[in-house]
């Protein structure tokens, strides 16, 4: 008990002694965590969104002419022979027309002049969940394209590609800001701890002569790093949460963000960010302790 009281008292004293720098450090840690977790949040949401797209993904195979009902099993077999497929739906001209009519609802007058034959017959292929990569889907579509009687295969390829490369870009930014986070945290924290060590140098010399154990001298410095990591990352995450709420309040109603269904970090992710910040800041203080304090 007495140990803990000593630890806390000493840490408090150290922080008071260099509080100007302490505030700067805290802000730096906060900002790094904010930047990193912002991009990380965007990235996790993109991943979630792409999963959702994956669920809804289907390839539409337009045909030159209708397939007779008795041929359908053979065609389906051919399709399945390339890859796992969850569902195959055959749409005749009439089916396609009926569906479009339903979709248009009250505005179906526009179809009046076109007649029920203007849409081509098609097969809708829902690939299995295991077929995920863009290249795999590409190969699948090429295979379908090569089947006899196929006019065209459509699956929003361009859109998927753009989305994929955007996700990749964000991933790079996440890594970069993660690197920034690591560097800024360890450097700034080790710098502050160094200041504390230097400002208390003569005192530590004497404490050593009086028999202070290395735990007595070092633990407060380590705790200082831990506190910086915890407070900084908590503050950073909290600011991100405020930002998130603000975005939700202002951009939810229409458009793209609705599609994305933006969500905040899971408790596990929050714990992970807090823990790694604490770990990084402790490393920073350990570096300083090892370099500038000899006992």
């Amino acid at each position: 008990m007495e140990y803990l009281a000593y630890l806390l008292r000493q840490t408090g004293r150290n922080i008071r002694q260099t509080w100007g720098t302490q505030v700067m450090t805290l802000l730096t840690v906060t900002l790094s965590v904010l930047i990193f977790s912002f991009f990380f949040l965007v990235y996790t949401n993109l991943l979630k969104a792409s999963e959702r797209f994956g669920d809804e993904l289907r390839l539409v195979v337009y045909l030159d002419k209708e397939i007779e009902p008795q041929q359908q099993p053979q065609v389906e077999k051919k399709i399945r022979s390339f890859s796992e497929v969850e569902k195959v739906t055959f749409l005749s001209r009439a089916d396609a027309f009926a569906r479009l009519q339903a979709q248009l609802g009250e505005e179906q007058d526009v179809l009046a002049d076109l007649g029920p034959d203007f849409l081509p017959p098609s097969i809708e292929v829902y690939p299995a969940k295991t077929l995920r990569g863009l290249t795999q889907i590409n190969q699948f579509s090429e295979y379908l394209q090569a089947l006899p009687g196929v006019a065209k295969v459509q699956y929003g390829r361009e859109w998927l590609e753009r989305f994929g490369s955007f996700t990749k870009l964000i991933r790079v930014i996440v890594f970069l800001s993660g690197g920034l986070l690591i560097i800024s945290m360890t450097f700034i924290v080790s710098y502050t701890i160094r200041l504390t060590v230097v400002s208390r140098h003569s005192e530590m010399e004497i404490l050593r002569l009086l028999g202070a154990t290395s735990a007595y001298l070092r633990l407060p410095l380590l705790l200082e790093g831990v506190l910086q990591g915890f407070c900084g990352s908590a503050l950073g995450l909290f600011s991100l949460f405020l930002l998130y709420r603000w975005i939700c309040d202002h951009f939810t109603a229409p458009g793209v963000l609705r599609l994305f269904e933006f969500t905040f970090f899971s408790p596990e992710a929050i714990a992970l960010i807090l823990l790694s910040s604490i770990l990084l800041c402790s490393c920073g203080s350990l570096v300083s302790i090892r370099r500038f304090m000899r006992i």
Binding site: E2, E203, L207, L209, L210, A212, T213, S214, Y216
Partner: protein, 246 residues
């Protein structure tokens, strides 16, 4: 009393200890010495004789160039840093240059010695008050150590050394800057500690007045060698010293 003590192994034992400061200043040369539990030993000698060096060797502030130093039967050279720190908590040292923090108060300076042993705040407060009364420094409790006179700083250094009621107390010139009456206070503190807590005390001093009238062992250093083993008043002890290995 002392005779009994000597039958057990010594608290401090120096065996042919030589200390050479770089480049080639020989501060101590082949010094052998034993200090027994509960004893008060005076170390005398001209300035530069090596008194401070000897005390620094015992508290591990310096390492010997040659020879072996044992404290409680353990070779200091073989104790690892954590062990040294634990040992230092039990050794109070009043340095000749005080080594107090001028920017901290008298109370804070003394408290440091007890804080490293994780003593309770209350115990620290009470012990400080007690020591300051004994050394006539009660009104200086919250003064910055840097604002004190040399003699006052010297007493703060001694109070810090005595704070933990250490097993061993090393005092380097504890009365160098003090008048007769204050010297009395210091001696009374040391004697009290020796009698109540059984603290073994080694005092390095020029001040003949503090050992002339006592029956404690006095050892004279001359150019880094022990020249006289003597007690000024009691012949009984001279015999004993002569029985010791040279």
């Amino acid at each position: 009393m002392e005779q009994d003590a000597r039958q057990e192994s010594p608290l401090i034992e120096l065996i042919k200890v030589t200390k050479v400061y770089p480049p080639d200043i020989v501060a101590l040369e082949e010094v052998s010495l034993q200090v027994y539990k509960g004893e008060i030993l005076f170390l005398t000698g001209r300035s530069g004789a090596g008194k401070s060096t000897l005390l620094k060797l015992i508290c591990c502030l310096e390492a010997p160039t040659k020879g072996v130093i044992e404290v409680s039967g353990r070779d200091l050279a073989k104790i690892k840093p954590p062990g040294i720190q634990r040992m230092r908590q039990k050794i109070g040292v009043a340095y000749q240059d005080f080594k107090i923090l001028e920017k901290q108060t008298v109370a804070e300076n003394i408290a440091m010695a007890m804080e490293v042993t994780y003593a309770s705040k209350r115990a620290i407060r009470e012990r400080i008050a007690e020591l300051l009364v004994m050394l006539n420094l009660s009104d200086k409790h919250d003064k910055l150590a840097g604002e004190l006179s040399r003699g006052e700083q010297q007493r703060v250094a001694l109070a810090r050394a005595a704070a933990n009621r250490p097993t061993l107390l090393l005092a380097d010139e504890p009365t160098g800057n003090l008048d007769q009456a204050t010297t009395e206070l210091v001696i009374r503190l040391l004697k009290g500690l020796n009698e109540e807590s059984g603290t073994t005390i080694v005092v390095a001093t020029h001040d003949e007045s503090i050992y002339m009238e006592t029956d404690h062992r006095v050892m004279d250093l001359c150019d880094g060698r022990i020249s006289v083993h003597a007690s000024r008043s009691k012949p009984r002890q001279i015999e004993l010293f002569e029985a010791l290995p040279a």
